[in-house]
């Protein structure tokens, strides 16, 4: 998606909606439904719930459209609003998730060669994000949702970049501690590299 075109289209649609054209909101929904459902999915990892959350966020955006002051881009305002909605909705009805220690470590290095196991293992890492304490969970969700763009993630959370960076680092440390197989794989790679060096 070309962000400048989207920004122009967003601005045009918002102006029309504020002038009373309800139908113009469809353009906004059409453009943002994909990103918003995916963002909600990362918050709860439940497809049905993700759509409900996204729908609620669109409704709140509709109600609060006049509150967008146009100092930031529409997407920044919209994602921040959506993050607020997801956070408060999930506080009211939390997503079903396991405590970090209860998530099974599905891997032995041999089984890891199997693609399915690898997929399951990766999914376990992704799901484990939901088990992080909230202050670390959200930075991780938003950082990867925004394709590792720290400033956009910080803007969505309305947090300084430094705070965001610190929380991310702590979250990664927690994940690494929970999934020692990542370390085991690393050791294997190191060993293989060492052997290759010797042969050469």
């Amino acid at each position: 998606m070309n962000p400048s075109i989207s920004a122009e289209e967003d601005l045009a649609d918002v102006t029309r909606v504020l002038a009373g054209d309800v139908q113009a909101f469809e353009g906004i929904v059409r453009r943002w439904q994909g990103p918003l459902v995916n963002m909600a999915w990362r918050y709860c990892r439940d497809r049905g719930r993700a759509e409900d959350l996204a729908q609620e966020a669109f409704l709140r955006a509709w109600r609060g459209l006049a509150g967008w002051r146009r100092e930031s881009s529409f997407s920044t305002w919209f994602f921040a609003l959506a993050a607020n909605v997801f956070r408060s909705e999930l506080k009211r009805f939390p997503a079903v998730n396991l405590p970090l220690d209860a998530i099974a470590e599905p891997s032995t290095p041999a089984v890891q060669l199997n693609t399915l196991s690898k997929k399951l293992s990766n999914e376990a890492v992704r799901r484990s994000v939901l088990s992080l304490p909230l202050r670390y969970r959200e930075p991780v969700i938003l950082f990867y949702f925004h394709e590792m763009d720290l400033s956009r993630a910080a803007a969505t959370m309305r947090l300084p970049e430094g705070t965001m960076k610190a929380r991310l680092s702590r979250a990664r440390a927690l994940l690494r501690r929970r999934f020692p197989h990542l370390e085991a794989e690393h050791q294997e790679m190191e060993f293989a590299a060492l052997n290759q060096g010797k042969e050469a």
């Binding site: 994909g34 890492v125 994000v129 590792m148 794989e185």
Partner: protein, 131 residues
């Protein structure tokens, strides 16, 4: 040793990055757009929310405030026990305050009574269809 640990953490981090950054893209269900727009249209067609009836509430709030102030005055005058022999206010200050406080109390009481009578007459007039 430290360099080794740093390298390992970096690799682990890039592994976590790789896993968390490669998320399968969800496509919203076919009815999603329609559902959202239906909700939006319903919301747009709904009558605006009824504003809070400040005109009706203000007399009640004033009355409650008056009663509260009056109670505070009464409590202050008669209800506060001395704390282990140390008076809260010096006697000369208390004497100076006593008269204005008493007057304020009477004013608050008068205001409250007139408010009550106004409310009562308003209600009676409303019932008989005069308003």
């Amino acid at each position: 040793m430290n360099q080794n640990k740093a390298n390992r953490e970096e690799t682990d981090q890039s592994k976590v990055d790789a896993i968390l950054a490669t998320e399968e893209e969800l496509i919203p269900s076919s009815g999603f757009l329609g559902n959202v727009m239906e909700n939006i249209r319903n919301e747009a067609a709904a009558p605006p929310p009824i504003p809070f009836p400040w005109k009706r509430a203000i007399p009640g709030i004033l009355l409650a405030g008056g009663v509260f102030a009056w109670s505070a005055v009464v409590l202050f005058r008669y209800g506060l026990p001395p704390v282990s022999g140390i008076p809260l206010i010096q006697p000369q200050h208390l004497a100076a305050l006593e008269r204005p406080i008493e007057e304020t109390g009477w004013v608050a009481l008068a205001l409250g009574i007139s408010l009550l009578s106004w409310l009562l007459s308003h209600r009676l007039a409303g019932r008989s269809g005069l308003l």
